[in-house]
Structures are given as structure tokens and as C-alpha cells.
């Protein structure tokens, strides 16, 4: 356990986070975008747990934050997917670039 | 309550009256009454002014009054007139009067038309009576806005394009102008917007050098300064008759008057130094407008380009900075205002009957509508500078005055400008020959009627005014001369 510093974990989560960001920006399918968001959320969850465990081992704030975040992301995924399915039903397509009706 | 404020008040009251008016007849009565009242006021003002001067009142501005309306910037509603503004007010009143009669049978939305028309008049009259820089600017804007709607709604042809173009270009001009005005206000060191006080203040020469072009171009856009004139042909061609009349007749004069009242009066050093640039531009305007007019086929375009040429002459003369030429410039404003209004009125009447303005489709109208034909010839002769009509007086004053300039450069440009009298003759006679003489081009035109009473009223009033200036110019030119002195003295610093 000696060698495993906080930074090791943070690097992993950072990579995950920016992979999510990349996906968010470049993906054109709504579901793919949503998957990228899951990556981002996940990396943040890890960070909460990490900081709790490494820096404030006696407490549980980070732990609970992660717990709740997982719950919230579950909600988010459920609602988002519901919306996506609804859109798909209306326009038979879930490409971002085709979703212009709201704009104009 | 100052008697000058009536000029603004009457149009406002007219708007109130129009608002209440229900039937077409009531609308016409309100419009005609108001316009006649304005004309009477203007004539009264001329006599009152001459009376005051004869009684020995030598103040720069007469009938002054002021009241503060925005203290932080020292903006006053302050009014007053000198000979020049009196002349311009008279011109505006005549044209508003005749404009009302020229738009007697608009056909649709008369009430709204006259409402905007009155707002426009308010702006115009307010501009000429103001001696506060900002109030003047405000009235200027008031005069511009209705134009957009008047052209856009009641116009013909590519009216939306023309209205948009006109408004945008004039607005761009007034943006420059606003910059200039604020510059003058803040940099003169005189915390006042009053023209007379500002004229006494000293604006440093370096500041003048960049303020002068701003103000001059700002007003120049409205005065059809080359190359900012292109709104004018499209705008005039698309506007309804009365609006063309008011626009070419009065609104373009706002530009000339502003250049003169604000740019030259307040910034004499810069005017002396930078005049040459604008003399070149206006010199081009004069000749260029005339040449462009030769090949046009739409009556209104011909007249619009001729306006570019004639208004160019106004700015040209103003920049000569001597009394004779400036006097000529003011006379030219009057003269051009009257005759171009006459032209547009007549074109509107012809168009109303034949439904075309293309000179290739017209011909022999003299036989069909002799009254309009004769009036058109008179307008044409006035435009090409026939002695006895107003154009000649103004042009001769300008040419002689400009030629007296000590500088050879200016004299050479005067000669260039002189050539416009020949080109003017060419395009005027071309049109007259094509549309009035010869055989009737379209047999449907044979059954058309001549002018009716309201059309006759408006044309006759205009012709009388044109001939009046042309036959007895001395009183007018003397009235203007008296008021030019302060400006000339300022310029000759």
C-alpha cells in the first residue's frame, strides 16, 4: 500500500473525465452523448470517494456524495432515455444535428 | 409660449385631429386646414422677421426662447430664427401645403399616411427652428423615422428595399453626426449645446479636424454627398408622391442646412482646411449626377439624379466659404426644393394616370393633359436654369460666388461644375421631348384626364413660388445675406 498515492487515482479519473468530455463534444448520437456523460459522472464519483478515503479517512461525506450521485445519475439516465425514446418516436432519428426544431 | 413653437405644435395638433377624424372627408379637412395654417404662419413669420429687421433689431437670432429639458447635458429646447431659417421654414411650409394636396387621393390608409406625414413635418419644422444642437438632432431623427414607414407602406416598386436602404444609410449618417455633436459638446469646453454659445467657444483646431468630417459627412449623407447618395434615387423612386416631394424638397435641405449651420459655423478652421476634399466630392456629385440622369429611363430616377446634381451644387457652394456662394447655396436649396417638389408632384400625377413612369412608354402627353404638360415644361425650364425662374438666380449666385474664390483650384472646379448646366439641359429636354411631345405612345392614354382642382392647387402654388423667387430675388437674397455675416466672419477668422 505504500506506493499507491492519491495522485495515481486522480490521474485515472482525469483520463476518464476528459474521455467523457471528448465524447460529449464529438458524438452526434444522443445516446452516445449520454454515455459520455456517464463517464464524466463516474470519474467525479471516484474523486469524491478518493478524497474522502485519502484525506479525511474518519468521515463519510465523500462516500455519501458518491452514493447520492449514483442515485442522481440513475434518475438522469432514466429521464434522458425516456426523452430520447420520445424524440425517436417523433422524428425517427436521434442525431443531434437533426434536432433543430427547438432552435428556430 | 413662443410663436415659433407653433410650427411644431400645429403638426402635433394635426396628428391629434387626424386621430379623431373618422371619415376621409374629415381627414382631408384636418390635413388641409393644418397645412394652410402652417403656410400662413410661415408667411406671417417672413413679414414679422422683415419687420423686426427693418425696425433695427440686429440680434443674430430673432424670436428666441428656451427652456431646459435635460439638465445633465445642458440640453435646452431653444428656438430662434435668422434669415436663413425663415427662408427654409417658408420652403417647408409651401411643400407641406402642396404635399397635402398632392396626396389628396391616396387610395388606402389615408389616416395613417397623414399621421406619419405630420410627424415628418414636425421633425422638419422643429429642425429649422432649433438652435440647440441636441434638440436639432432629435428633430432630425424624428424626421427620418416616418420616412421608413411612408416609403415601405405607401411606396411603389422595390419599396421595402428602398426604405431599408434609405433608413440605414441615413441612420449611419446620423450615427456619425451624433458622434460629432457629442464631440463638439465635450471638447469645446463650453458646457452648452446652444449653437450661438458654441460658436463663440473655441474648439481646438486639431479637434476640429476630426470633428468636421464627422459632422459634414453625417449631414452630407442626407444632402446626397457623393458617394453616399445612392439612397436617394431608390428612395425617391419608390416613395409616394407627397413623400418624394417632402423628402427631396425639404429633407435633403436638412443636410445642406446642417452642414452649414453646424459644420461650417462651429468649425471654421477645419472648414477652411478640409474644404478641398469635399469640394472634389461635391464637384463630382454635380457632374456625375447630371450624367447619370441622362441615361435613366424612369422619370423619378431622372429626377432623383438631377437632385443629386443640384444638391451637390448646394454643398459645393457652401464649401466655397464666401458670402455670395453661400447665399447662392441657400437660394439653391429653396429653388431646388420647390422645383423638385413640383417635378415629383407632376410625375406622381402622370404616374397616377398612365401607371408607368418609363419614358419609353410615354409620349405626346402634352396633347392629352396640356395643363400638366405645361407645368412639366416649366419645371424643366426651372431645373435647367432659365432666367426668370428660381434655378437661374441660385445657380448664377453659386457660379459667380464660387468663381470669386481666390484660389485657382476652386475656380477650376467651379468651371467643372458649370458644365452641368449643359448636361442638365440635355436630360431635361430629352425627357420633355420624349414624354410630352411627339405622338401619343399608348392609345389608352388618349382618354386620360387633365389635372383636377387639388392637383392644380399644388402645382400652381409651387410654380408661383418658383417664379416669385426667379423674378424678384433681391429681397430674399438680402434677407439671407444679413444672416450670413456672422458665419462669414467666423470663417474668415
Amino acid at each position: 500500500m505504500e506506493g499507491l498515492h492519491l495522485e495515481y487515482y486522480l490521474v485515472v479519473s482525469a483520463i476518464m473525465f476528459f474521455a467523457g468530455v471528448y465524447g460529449f463534444i464529438t458524438r452526434r448520437n444522443l445516446l452516445a452523448v449520454l454515455i459520455s456523460i456517464e463517464l464524466i459522472l463516474n470519474s467525479v464519483d471516484i474523486n469524491f470517494a478518493l478524497f474522502n478515503r485519502f484525506l479525511f479517512p474518519g468521515q463519510l461525506e465523500g462516500f455519501f456524495f458518491t452514493l447520492f450521485a449514483i442515485g442522481v445519475s440513475a434518475c438522469e439516465a432514466a429521464v434522458a432515455i425516456a426523452i430520447i425514446i420520445n424524440i425517436y418516436r417523433n422524428i425517427r432519428n436521434i442525431q443531434v444535428k437533426n434536432l433543430q426544431q427547438l432552435k428556430d | 409660449m413662443n410663436f415659433l413653437s407653433l410650427f411644431v405644435l400645429v403638426p402635433v395638433l394635426m396628428m391629434g385631429g387626424l386621430f379623431l377624424a373618422k371619415t376621409l372627408k374629415q381627414i382631408r379637412v384636418v390635413a388641409a386646414t393644418g397645412a394652410s395654417l402652417l403656410l400662413a404662419l410661415a408667411v406671417g413669420l417672413v413679414f414679422a422677421y422683415l419687420g423686426e429687421r427693418a425696425a433695427g433689431n440686429t440680434a443674430e437670432m430673432l424670436f428666441t426662447a428656451k427652456s431646459l429639458w435635460y439638465a445633465p447635458l445642458h440640453i435646452y429646447y431653444s428656438v430662434g430664427v435668422d434669415g436663413i431659417s425663415v427662408a427654409m421654414l417658408l420652403l417647408s411650409a409651401i411643400i407641406v401645403f402642396t404635399g397635402v394636396f398632392a396626396s389628396w387621393s391616396m387610395g388606402f390608409l389615408e389616416k395613417e399616411f397623414f399621421l406619419w406625414f405630420c410627424l415628418l413635418s414636425t421633425g422638419v419644422f422643429g429642425f429649422f427652428i432649433s438652435i440647440d444642437l441636441f434638440t436639432m438632432f432629435m428633430y432630425y431623427e424624428i424626421a427620418l423615422i416616418p420616412m421608413y414607414l411612408l416609403i415601405g407602406v405607401w411606396g411603389s416598386g422595390r419599396k421595402e428595399y428602398a426604405a431599408m436602404k434609405l433608413t440605414l444609410m441615413l441612420m449611419a449618417g446620423s450615427a456619425l453626426l451624433l458622434l460629432g455633436i457629442l464631440g463638439i459638446y465635450f471638447l469645446s469646453g463650453e458646457s452648452s449645446m446652444n449653437l450661438l454659445e458654441l460658436a463663440r467657444a473655441y474648439i481646438p483646431a486639431e479637434t476640429q479636424y476630426w470633428l468636421f468630417p464627422l459632422v459634414f459627412v453625417g449631414f452630407g449623407v442626407l444632402g446626397a454627398l457623393f458617394p453616399f447618395h445612392t439612397w436617394s434615387p431608390d428612395g425617391h423612386a419608390s416613395a409616394p408622391t407627397a413623400v418624394s416631394m417632402l423628402h427631396a424638397g425639404v429633407l435633403m435641405k436638412l443636410g445642406g442646412y446642417g452642414c452649414f449651420r453646424v459644420a461650417i459655423f462651429l468649425m471654421p478652421e477645419a472648414a477652411n482646411e478640409l474644404a478641398w476634399i469635399f469640394i472634389i466630392l461635391t464637384g463630382i456629385s454635380v457632374v456625375y449626377g447630371a450624367y447619370s440622369a441622362i441615361v435613366q429611363t424612369d422619370l423619378k430616377y431622372i429626377n432623383a439624379y438631377s437632385s443629386v446634381s443640384h444638391c451637390g451644387l448646394v454643398l459645393f457652394a457652401i464649401l466655397m466659404l464666401n458670402q455670395t456662394a453661400m447665399n447662392g447655396a441657400i437660394l439653391q436649396m429653396l429653388s431646388h426644393g420647390l422645383m423638385t417638389a413640383l417635378f415629383f408632384a407632376l410625375i406622381g400625377m402622370i404616374y397616377g394616370r398612365t401607371h408607368t413612369r418609363d419614358i419609353r412608354e410615354l409620349g405626346g402627353l402634352m396633347k392629352v393633359m396640356p395643363f400638366l404638360g405645361v407645368c412639366y415644361v416649366i419645371a424643366g425650364l426651372a431645373s435647367l436654369g432659365l432666367p426668370g425662374l428660381s434655378g437661374f438666380v441660385a445657380e448664377m449666385k453659386i457660379f459667380v460666388g464660387s468663381f470669386m474664390h481666390a484660389d485657382t483650384f476652386h475656380r477650376v472646379f467651379t468651371l467643372v461644375a458649370c458644365t452641368s448646366i449643359v448636361i442638365t439641359a440635355v436630360y431635361i429636354l430629352r425627357v420633355v421631348g420624349k414624354i410630352l411631345y411627339g405622338t401619343v405612345a399608348d392609345e389608352h392614354h388618349l382618354t386620360l384626364s387633365d389635372a383636377n382642382w387639388y392637383e392644380r392647387t399644388s402645382t400652381i402654388v409651387l410654380i408661383l413660388a418658383i417664379a416669385g423667387i426667379g423674378l424678384a430675388p433681391l429681397w430674399l437674397s438680402d434677407m439671407i445675406d444679413g444672416s450670413l455675416l456672422p458665419i462669414i466672419q467666423n470663417v474668415k477668422l
Binding site: V21, F24, I25, R27, V96, K97, Q100, L102, K103 | K165, L168, M169, F226, P227, H229, T230, W231, Y288, Y291, S292, I294, V295, Q296, Q323, T324, G364, M366, L381, L384, G385, L386, P387, G388, F392, V393, M396, K397, F399, V400, F403, M404, R411, T414, L415, C418, T419, I421, V422, A425, V426, L429, R430, G433, Y437, G438, T439, P473, L474, S477, D481
Partner: protein, 633 residues
Amino acid sequence: MEYTLLIVLLPLLSFLFLGLAGKGLKPRVAGYIGTIVLAIAAGLSYITAWHYFTTAKVDGVFEKWTPLNFRWLNFTEHLHIDLGILLDPIAVMMLVVITTVSLMVHLYSLGYMHGERGFQRYYAFLSLFSFSMLGLVVATNIFQMYIFWELVGVSSYLLIGFYYTKPEAVAASKKAFIVTRFADLGFLIGILLLSFYTGTFSFERLTSGDTSLFAGAEGLSFMGCSVMSWALALIFMGGAGKSAMFPLHVWLPDAMEGPTPVSALIHAATMVVAGVYLVARLFPVYYLEAPDVLVLIAIVGAVTSLYAAIVACVQTDIKRVLAFSTISQIGFMMVGLGVSGLEGHEGLGYMASMFHLFTHAMFKALLFLGAGAIIHAVHSNEMTRMGGLWKHLPITHLTFLVACLAIAGIPPFSGFFSKDEILAATFHFNPVLGAVMSFTAGLTAFYMFRLYYRIFWNKATHHDHAPHEAPGSMTVPLIFLAAVTLVAGFIPFGKFVTSDSADYIIHLDWVVATISVAIAVIAIGLATLFYRKESSIPDRLATTFRGLHAAASQRFYLDEVYLFITKKIIFNGISRPVAWFDHHVVDGTMNGFATLSQRLSGSIRGFQSGQLQQYVMVILLGALLITVLVVFI
């Protein structure tokens, strides 16, 4: 002398009355009103002339009278346009000439224009013209002259275009106005230059011989000529335009589209000599300040005169022949002025020129009115439709013959005296010029008699109904003018009108007189040979000199040159490109600005795309930027 004002004002009133109320009047009444007014004016002019010339001379010269002069428009304190009346010998002479010819024309038109549509308008225009022309000759200053000069131009325009439904008439009126307007530009610039250096418009001051007035222009020159020469040459250009001097003469032949009496009044007797009058008016200035311009005037006059005479020989339209003859005769007058001196005996040319102006006005008006009577009778302008008319139109024939003899320079008709003196002055000035002018005089005799024979003799043409003599209102003016032409030569003109207002005793130069009469007689003889009877000689000559004949009958292609300049150069070469430039470049730039700002706003609008991903991207980059800024700076 205040009544002279009436001479000018009466026609104006008549014009206003007929112009405004004419429609309500019976045509005949309108005609009578115009004619009576003109008769009064003519009467007043005769009284004026009598009064003026019988008043004793002061120091041997006629005084200049200024019965009226008021300020009309100020330029500066010293420079102002006055309107007034200046009477001096030439002005008085012109008053007489104008009112006489005008009265004759008014009278004649009662018959000639009878039944024409727009009769009232016609008389209104005639009155307007008379007013302007009278105002022109009594002008006290050069600017007043310019004012009336323009008015004359407009009346001429209106009268040429009287038959406004005829396209040729409209085109001709336009051409006349524009060509003269172009010349007037020169006049105006000349005035500007002149007044700039002298500070005055007044004829009295300009012609006073006071050279200090011109001190300002001393030593200034432009392109090798002094400024004063330029000014005066430009003023002459104005005169050349009105007087149809080569190459500004192109409008005059076309102006014949107007009614014939108008041609007689305006384009033969009065308006076209305005240029001569202008030069005569400013003669002392020309002589003292710019003698080189006088030479120019003489040369232009000679060239014009010769050119017009040649062209006149081959025209077939009788009015055109007369028009070219007018141009030629005015050339004579110009030459007379050009070769003249100022003082005493030197002033022969001036005197002769004025004399010729006077006599020419009479006999040329007579010719035109005669031509009018002929056209009235045969309803055509073409010589080919005439011939053998002498027995149908006896009065016209006789009066026409008188006029022809006068213009050919056969004594004792008036033309002989005046033309002979011009020739004498020219020979005195330069023999070559004199020879040219003598030759021209010969040509004149030739083409006039060609005209005469082809109208009245030659082969008779068949007419549907026999031509008959004109009514009394038309023949009376003819007889009157013929009488004047017969006796005018014996007027001791040198007593009245001379360059220095002092007496000039005319004594004929017998050598010159003999030669010129001989030439005239030979020319007439030739014309008789060619045209008295039907003959093949003219045709043969025409074929022999085919090129020359064709060129002359096409007026040496000058009209084509003008057409080229106006159509190709001004219209297509300048105006169209300018309009194109305006539409595409200037307007295009403005529209370009509009498009540009539209594009710009379009691209700014792109940032607000509503695309979440793009927003995120930008937010991310922004956050990174801020981080970098906070951390590293």
C-alpha cells in the same frame, strides 16, 4: 425716355395675357392682340429712334442713355446684376429692326398660321420672343444680356418645337437648345472670367476704354493666350452658338422645322444676329484687350461663310437653302467686325457689319416670308415640287426677286451697299481674306438665283389645284419689306451707327464695288444658264464632282460628327459608364456593406446555434483559458 421701358414690357404683358388667358380667347382675337401690341412697340421704337438720333451729339458722338437701371440681384457690393435699358446707336438700331421684323411676322402669321391648332400659343410665344430679344438688345450689362440670351434661346426652343407632334420638330428644337446651351456655357465662363478680373458687368464701364479696369488680368496667361483673350474668346463662343458660326451652326438648318414666319423672325433676322450684336457691343473691349480674338472672329466668320455658301448650293429644301444663306451672311457680319478697327476710318468694318445686319434682317425676313408664301401655296418645302410659279404668285415672285438681288449684291438694292463695305474692309485688312469673301459673295449670288429660278421658272410642276397668291395679311409684309430693301441702301448709315459713335462718311471703294458686282453678275449668269430652263448641266456637274457634291449635300458630315459626339461619346461613352458605375460600384459598395453586415451577423448568429455540444466546447475552452490565466500568470 422712360417710355422705352414699354417697348420691352408690352410684349411681356402680351405674352402673359395670351399665355394665361389665351385658351379662352378666339384665335383671331389672340392674334390681333399680339399684333397690336407689337405695332405699339414698333411705333414706340420708331419714336425712340427719331428722338435718339435727332438729339444733338455731344462732342461729335451720340451719348449713351440709360433711362432705367435697377438692381436685380446682388453678388457682392460692387458686382450685381442690374436690369435696365441702355440706348446707344446699335441698341436703337436693333430696336427698330426687331420691332419692324417682328411686327411684319405677327401680321404675316395672321394669314399663314390661320386655322392652326395652338394659334394663341403661337402668338404668346412670339410675344415672349419679342420681349426677350428686345430685353437683350437694351441690356445695360453683360449679365442682363445673358439673362435675355437664355430667354431668347428658350423662346426659340418653344417656337421651333411648335409643331410638337412632329418628331423632327421636337428633335430640332432640342438640338437647337442644347447646341446653343453648350455655347452659352462658354459665354457664362467668359462672363465669370471677365467679371472676376474687372469687377463689373456694366457695358458702360467695360467699353469706356478705361484700361485700368483690366489691370487685374495683366500678364496672366493660359496656354499661351492672355486671360482676357480667353475670356473674350469664350464670350464669342456664346455669340457663335447663337449666331450659328461654324462649327456650332448645326442647329440652324434643323431649326427650319419651325413655322416659316418663326424662321423669318428668329432664325434669319433677329436672334441669330445676337452673336454679332454681342461682339459689336463689346467691340472696344475686344479691340483693346484681345485683338487676337478679333482675328479669330474674322477667320471663323470667313470659314463659316464659305462653308455655308457651298452647302447652300446643293440643298433642295428651300428653307434649308435660306438657312445656310443666313449662316453665310452672318459670317459676313462677323468678318466685318473681325477686320474692323476702332477709331474713325478704321471702323469701316464695324459700321459695315452693323449695316449688313440691318439690311440682311430686312431682306432675309423678306426671303423667308416669301418662302412661306410659296410653301403655303404648294404645301411643300422641296424645290422639286416647285417651278414655274411666277405666274401663280406674282407679288411673291417680285418681292422674292428684289430680295435675291439684294442678297446677291446688285446695286441699288440694300445688300449691295452693306456687303460691299464689308468686302472693302476685308480687302483692306487682308487681300486673301478679301478674295475668299468675294468668292463667297459670288457663291451667294449663284445659290440664291438657283433657288429663285427653280422656284419660279424652270419646269412647272403639276399641282392638284392651282397655287394661288397668299392673302393680304401675308402680302402686305412682303411688299413693305421689299420696299425697305429697295431704299435701305441709301440710308446714311455712317451717320448713325459707327464704332466710335462719331460720323463716318461712306465713300464707295469703286474697285471693290466693281469687282464684286461683276462677280455677282457672272454668278447670276451661271445660275441663269443652269436653272432658268430645265438643263442637264447641274446633273453633269454633280456627277463630275461627285465627292464634293455628296459631301456638300450632307453638309460635310458635320451632323454625323455631332451625332457621334452626343450619341457615342456623351451618351454611350460617358453617361452609360457613369450610370453603370453608380449602379454597380457606388451602389454596389453600399449594398456590399449591407451584405457584409448581414454575413457578419449571420456568422455571429452561428455561435448561438442552440447546439449543446458546441456550447460545452466553448465553455470548456473558456474554463481552460481562465485556468491557464489564473495559474500561470
